[in-house]
Structure formats: structure tokens, C-alpha cells
Symmetry: C2
DNA sequence: ACAAATTTGTAGTAATCATTATATAAATGT
DNA sequence: ACATTTATATAATGATTACTACAAATTTGT
């Protein structure tokens, strides 16, 4: 039984959907640019309910970051992990980064963490730590896929998984920054083939 | 004659130094996070004088972005351009990006454009265009140095200057993002040698 | 010395901000 | 049926926001 009857008037909103709406508002406008009015309207939650459920604005922001950062379904990562062929997987990752950062349904460009949260890392307590953790987690998640390709035999034994994971992730920042700046999909896609080769290249030479 | 006597009470501030102080405040706090009180205090300019000199907050922001983006003395670029040996030049660029984004005198981490301005590109009119222009200008400025190395003979004739310029710039975004998230200098420096080789590598194989 | 011009410093404006007090509505338990 | 519990809706709170009116201060020109 997941739905156990509770006393009192039932909530009008779903916690997780409301939180994702908050992510979209913060993504589009940033922490300081997003007003509580923006948030309550987008989330469909009245101020008193919002404060009861999520605490104050800062706490809601931290929860939004955490929700976004711990999203296993992040499409570029999923694309990278679900494609069996490692070369196609790397290509799918880069492709999906471009699609994701230019065509998100909320209208926000780039990536919530690197295009919006980064700004508040200088001032808002706790944000920098959340960001750092998200980066390290993603580095490891990317490296894991490379490690699997190594044990499976499609990548050579001395392939530097973590180093190339960081490379992929850093290239990603470039793409999302360009997306936020309004660069065209076409202009960003021109370098993909070359970058796939680089990421998988043997640099012992 | 640069200093011509003007009637009226003289200004107490230097326009350009005040503008650079504004850059630092916006860099640290973002557009919405920076209050006019923050700005007037840091710039040493009273509100009426500020409005007379720079217009409203939005116009000051645009001027600050323009001042920062058109700074020929950007230390990573200068390092890249002034080192004669192309391999050392690439290494100097990456090194300087790390130093710049972690040790800036204002206390702000990362890069003003990618760590702060990017947030406002979603909402504030004109910012996205300024960003895009800055990216394209930097891409070309980096490519120019590669072209010079080609004509001078230290890089092969078919070296793809603009493609590698974009690569360098995108890798830079990764570094400044990590810096903003509080990653250590040491952790970021580990990949430099490998990345230098990649940027200069021959990918015809 | 005095008028004209321009900036400074202070104190204010109206609007918006995050947050909360109050009252009403909708569920369950007995 | 009625008390208890929880969430809702509205409106108000004090603080802060961007911005400006006003008077004093400091320069040049005559």
C-alpha cells in the first residue's frame, strides 16, 4: 500500500512535480531573479503551503539543486550508458548534450547547474558544496561506463577512464555555455566527430 | 591635450576603475544578486552620480559585460599569445585559466561571463547577444595564434586552427566551472599535459 | 567677487520582495 | 454529527529594492 489515508485536507500538488517546476524557474531566472511569486505560480502552490512543504526560498533552492543533480534520468548520461557500442555512446552523449541544452521543454537553455547555479555558488551558503559533489559524481558515472567497456574488451586495458571522463564533462560545459549564449545547434555539431576520436584516442604516441 | 578643464565640480571617481569594480560585484553576486547599494559602495560612486554616468542598473550591467569582454589583457589569452613556443603557449593558457579562475583578486571564482552572466542570458535583454559575440571573438583570437604558428612553420599546414580553438575554449569552460564549484587547483592541473597533447595532436590517423 | 555649471551627499519615493497571520475548506476518526 | 487535523486562499507584514528630489559643495569664466 503506497497510498495510506491521512487525516486533514489533502494536498493539491504533487511534491516532486512542484519541485521540478521550481527547478525550471530557478534555471530560467537564477536564484535571485526568481521571485516567490514566480515560484508559487509555476509550482501551483500557495505561499503558506510552499513554506510548509519546502521551507524558505533558500531551502527550496537547495532541494531543487539536489533534485536536479540526483536525476538518474539525465538524458545525456542515459544516452551514454545505454548505447552498447562505446564510440556510438560517446557520440550519443555529445549529441544529447546539444539537444538537451537547446531544446529543453521549459524553455531554459544550457544546464541548470552550470548555467544558473554556478552564479550563486559565490554567495549562497551550501551551494558550492552541492555543485562540487555533483561534478565528482558525474565524473565517476562517466568513468564507470569506460571501465565497463574495458572489462568487456572494447577499450584497451590502459585506457584512462577517469581522465577521459573529466575531458568529456569539461567539453560538455563548453557546449552548454554556447547553448546558453544562443549558438546554433548546427555550429555546435560540426566538431562532434573529431571530439569523439579525441576522447577515445590512444595518446601513448 | 587629454585633460581639458571643465566647468563644474569635478568627479570624484574614475569611470573605468568604477566600471571594473562593478564587474567584480556582478561577477560575485550576479545581476539580480547585486544591489545598487552593493554597487555604489564598491564603486565609490553615489547613486545620483552613478545614474548620471552609467544610466540604470541594466545599462551598467551591459557596460560591465562589454568592458570585461573587450579586455585585451585577459591573462589566459595574453599568456597564450605571448609565449613563442606553441606547445608552451597552450600549456600556459590552460595553466593561466586555472590560476585566473581560482585566485582572482576580487575573490570571485570562475569567469564573469560563463559563471555569472550566463545566468542572466535567459532573461535580460541583450545579454545573450553580448555573450555570443564574446565567444566568437575569443574563438577567433585563439585561432589566430594557431594560424601564426602555421605560417611560421611550428605547426603543420593542415592544422585545424578554428576547430582546436573551439576545443581549447570549451575545455576552459570546464575548468572555470570546476573553479566556481571550489575544486582544487591541484585536481585541475593533473590533466594539463594530456590536454596539451590533445589540442596539438594530429588526428589524421 | 559673483554667476553659471556640474557633482556630491542625504533623504526620500513608490514598488516589490520574502514571509506570515487569519480564516475557510476538506479530509478522517469516533 | 461533530471534533480533530491538515491544507487552502487572501491579504497583510516589515524589509529591501531601484531610483530620484533637493540642497550643499566645488569647479570655471568673466
Amino acid at each position: 500500500m503506497t497510498t495510506l489515508k491521512k487525516v486533514g485536507r489533502p494536498k493539491k500538488f504533487d511534491r516532486d512535480t512542484a519541485l521540478m517546476s521550481a527547478v525550471n524557474v530557478f534555471w530560467l531566472k537564477g536564484f535571485d531573479g526568481a521571485s516567490m511569486t514566480d515560484l508559487t505560480e509555476a509550482m501551483g502552490v500557495n505561499p503558506p503551503s510552499l513554506y510548509a512543504e519546502f521551507g524558505d526560498k533558500l531551502n527550496l533552492y537547495r532541494l531543487a539543486i539536489d533534485r536536479y543533480a540526483s536525476n538518474d534520468a539525465c538524458s545525456p548520461l542515459v544516452a551514454f550508458e545505454s548505447e552498447p557500442d562505446i564510440e556510438k555512446a560517446v557520440r550519443a552523449f555529445l549529441n544529447e548534450v546539444i539537444v538537451y541544452s537547446t531544446k529543453h521543454s521549459s524553455g531554459a537553455k544550457g544546464c541548470f547547474l552550470s548555467s544558473s547555479v554556478a552564479t550563486s555558488a559565490g554567495e549562497i551558503e551550501g551551494v558550492q558544496e552541492l555543485l562540487k559533489k555533483a561534478i565528482e559524481t558525474t565524473d565517476r558515472r562517466l568513468a564507470k561506463r569506460f571501465d565497463e567497456a574495458k572489462t568487456e574488451g572494447s577499450l584497451r586495458k590502459d585506457f584512462p577512464s577517469l581522465e577521459r571522463a573529466r575531458l568529456m564533462f569539461d567539453l560538455r560545459q563548453g557546449l552548454v555555455f554556447r547553448a546558453r549564449a544562443g549558438c546554433s545547434v548546427k555550429s555546435m555539431k560540426t566538431d562532434i566527430d573529431q571530439r569523439v576520436r579525441m576522447i577515445l584516442s590512444d595518446q601513448s604516441s
